[in-house]
Amino acid sequence: MEIPTKLFINNEYVESKSNERISLSNPTNDIAITKDVRVASQEDVDIAVAAANTAFTQGPWSSFSGSQRAACLHKVAALIEQNADRLAHLESLPTGRPISGIIHFDLKHMVEVFRYYAGWADKIEGRSYVEDNGFYKIVRYEPIGVCSGIASWNATFMYVGWKVAPALAAGNAFIFKASEKSPLGSLALGPLFAEAGFPPGVVQFITGGRETGSAMASHKLISKLSFTGSASVGKKIQEAAARSNLKKVTLELGGKSPAIVFADAPMEVAVGGFALVTASRLLVEEKIAKEFCASIVQIFEAASKSMGADTMDPNTQHGPVVDREQFERIMGYIEQGKQSATLLTGGGRIGTKGSFIQPTLFLEPKMDSPIWTEEIFGPVLTVKTFRTEEEAISLANDTEYGLASCIYTSDITRALRVSSKLQAGGVAINSPFLPELNTPFGGIKQSGYGHELGKDSLLSYMTAKSIHIK
């Protein structure tokens, strides 16, 4: 299978201006994949931005009607569907993410996101106000200009959908940079956008690491940057945005999402929710804690047994962590966990090849333990017990993050009451929190600000212009 390694600029793959390259290897077996992925230098970023700016201000895209933009978005959705196998393969190779998950979730979801936003493209409405003071007043919503996105490596295609689709529906041009750990899938998307009818410069995919990201954050002609990644990098991006041109920034910075399980939780549903491990802190009512933790241990140990299988096999559900760097980082947290909490299961490496870590469960950590306070971004779940609802809420909110949360209970009143007290951007009741096309997804506190999905995200790629006619 051909591996794309060049930058996708102005609807074609082009050579970069620097000699720097990214090497990738397969985290399931440590075998090298490529040493040739280009790194976009400042000059390459300048070229891409110039192309995007021309496309936005003068090119045919600037006079596309909403329904013309919709047609392109629908076309690219269909092309993605047709090319799903290749795209999934390229994304799975360097990340170790099981191919079935990418096909059945990431790509499927991305296609739905494109179709959802295609439907908004011809429905962007402003407002008008009565002229009782002598002025006719019209508010129009217009695209911002050259927008950009930087994503983390855990779900590249999902981020392409979330960032690129609403921006294009609104009429912007977009430059997307995937994580340097997972660049191949995004590069492979480029030609599909060209085939879908997006004019040159409207959608571009570049690759690189910190420096490329920094060049984007500081660029004076980029009007918006949507970032998903760590808090420390997010803060640097906001700073660079302020120092350069005050570009609009949205930050999705991760979380330490709590799952609160009350004694009257629907048990099977609650236990099943942890097969996905989207929450990283489990708060369980003392009354049922022992039983509940035993069920989680069972699930984790079953998952552990199935790990190490070929991630290209459609039956494989669990993969390794993305690379050695992450592996060492997560193992570091696990070691700290062993010093400050009770290990119920897991805590070690699986096998001797690749970066597989056992799903790990810790109980009752010290309140200042890093496994309780910091985002680990690995298969580590930490459990604390509570007695009262107030205690649960207090524990849940005792974090610098505020992305998502979930509550398991049969009592609807309690569910709604607790949901209004949780400091989080999203609350799920009797389910893990999963994003929905129609509802805005985003965090508060140090999980960042701004939203993806829903109409909110579309509007965040637009700006209001007020027109007063005498």
Partner: protein, 499 residues
């Protein structure tokens, strides 16, 4: 019982074969009473087809299947409805020339007008509303002691009674938002022009709509239309057509089950041409406004009010342009004027012309039948028409312009608003302030500035006063097919937790 078929021949040997039955539950059926209606070609007077005509028992059957279908259809997601509507749009686009052939033969619409305007608009409308299907959201609002939210829900079993002038496009104006909103629909096509409905029915099935979700029947207004208006299980009826029929539908709705009704009943569109109008542009649109499809358009600019300074130049150019029409077979590309939809319509229009002459209006041009086996009538215009004349007050629905001169802006507004109709209007001026001022003052649902008759899928269209109520197109058009349900959740105090 399964129905027979009809074959139509278009240009360049294009041939279309269609079933002639009532499309109910994804099948074509004969009317239970074997009732039929004859369909004539308005350009030749010849018989085109004999198709099944629905009566009360057929309507009952159609409504019954729609009700059953709704039980399952209401569980289908917005995303799936979106996909089906997109598929239907794609199929209509694929078969656009077939529809254009049918509309030319059956409705007297010029082939190119049908293909490039009406069918294209139908496709755009379907795509626009498809994109709403997964976005019918309500709101959430805090209330003391709890929380509340609204849901936008489909109404259920709906009906649309559609006219003969732009049959496919206006059908899609109803079908698209109705289905996007999650309803099921019975369409009653006009008995004058039922054939496009048979083709549309085939595509509904090909697109994959489950049986009963969209039924398409034709029949006499007094029978099939009335049955729908009176039906206890139809919860909404959308009607586009004449005022008297609309009134009857509203009465029948009130007498039966108080079903929701929207009415689009026609107009007497004023076109206002000010001294500072760009003349060529004004002449182009004003002429089109009263000659396109022989003025058989609810938004026709049938009253042309011209300011005195530009009057003489306008009249000369308007007359020249109006007479520059080539009457002929609507299938042929060089025809720029087709027939009126029926002999009855043609004679009604002649009647209005006679009345105009009797009332003392001055004939500028036209006024006579174009002799043929079809229903051709000259482009006609009267000048010095006063506000009390029938020519100024009554909707003619033919290629007859009533022209009057005005001096001041206020006079123009007063003349324009002196009407029981209020559908659409057009203003021609270079002065932006005047454009806004006058558009504000005009009592119509749509105002176009420096053009006439623009229809866009994302802008609501519908009238005031006796032009009816309710909107087609735009998000307002979607809301017509939804009910709002408010849900309030009372939050009980926390249960005591035993430690």
């Amino acid at each position: 019982m399964a129905s027979s078929t009809v074959q139509l021949t278009g240009i360049a040997g294009q041939s279309v074969e269609l079933p002639t039955g009532l499309f109910i539950n994804n099948e074509f059926l004969e009317a239970q009473s074997k009732s039929t209606v004859k369909v004539l070609n308005p350009s030749t007077g010849k018989l085109l087809a004999v198709v099944a005509a629905a009566e009360k028992q057929d309507v009952d059957l159609a409504v019954g299947t729609a009700k059953v279908a709704f039980d399952t259809w209401k569980t289908v997601s917005g995303i799936e409805r979106r996909a089906l509507l997109f598929k239907l749009a794609e199929l209509i686009e694929r078969d656009s020339e077939i529809f254009a052939t049918i509309e030319a033969l059956d409705a007297g619409v010029l082939f190119n007008d049908s293909k490039f305007l009406h069918v294209a608009a139908a496709v755009e409308t379907l795509r626009y509303f498809a994109g709403w299907a997964d976005k019918c959201n309500g709101s959430s609002m805090p209330i003391s002691g709890g929380m509340a939210y609204t849901k936008k829900e489909p109404i259920g079993v709906c009906a649309a009674v559609v006219p003969w002038n732009s049959p496919l496009m206006i059908t899609c104006w109803k079908l698209a938002p109705c289905i996007a909103a999650g309803n099921v629909l019975i369409v009653k096509t006009a008995e004058l022009t039922p054939i496009y409905g048979l083709k549309l029915a085939q595509l509904v099935k090909e697109a994959g709509f489950p049986p009963g979700v969209i039924n398409i029947i034709t029949g006499l207004g007094a029978k099939a239309g009335q049955s729908l208006a009176e039906h206890m299980e139809v919860r909404k009826l959308a009607f586009t057509g004449s005022g008297p029929v609309g009134r009857g539908i509203m009465i029948a709705a009130a007498r039966s089950n108080i079903k929701k009704v929207t009415l689009e009943l026609g107009g007497k569109g004023p076109t206002l041409i000010f001294d500072d109008a760009e003349l060529e542009n004004a002449v182009f649109w004003a002429t089109l406004g009263i000659t396109a499809h022989n003025g058989q358009i609810c938004a026709a600019g049938s009253r042309i009010l011209v300011q005195s300074g530009i009057y003489d130049q306008f009249i000369e150019a308007f007359k020249k342009r109006s007479l520059d029409a080539v009457a002929g077979d609507p299938l042929l590309a060089n025809s720029t004027k087709g027939p009126l939809a029926s002999r009855v319509q043609r004679d009604k229009v002649l009647g209005h012309i006679q009345k105009g002459i009797q009332d003392g209006a001055e004939l500028l041009h036209g006024g006579k039948v174009i002799e043929s086996d079809g229903n051709y009538l000259e482009n006609t215009a009267f000048v010095n028409v006063t506000r009390d004349m029938s020519l100024m007050r009554d909707e003619i629905f033919g290629p007859v312009a009533a022209i009057a001169k005005f001096k001041t802006e206020d006079e123009a507004i007063s003349l324009a608003n002196d009407s029981e109709y209020g559908l659409s209007s057009a203003i021609f001026t270079s002065d932006i302030s005047r454009a806004y001022r006058v558009s504000d003052a005009l009592e119509t649902g749509q105002v176009t500035i420096n053009s006439w008759g623009n229809i866009n899928a994302n802008t609501p269209f519908g009238g005031k006063k006796q032009s009816g109520f309710g909107k087609d197109l735009g998000v307002e058009g979607l809301d017509e097919w939804l009910n709002v349900k408010t849900v309030k959740v009372n939050l009980l105090p926390a249960k005591e937790v035993k430690v």
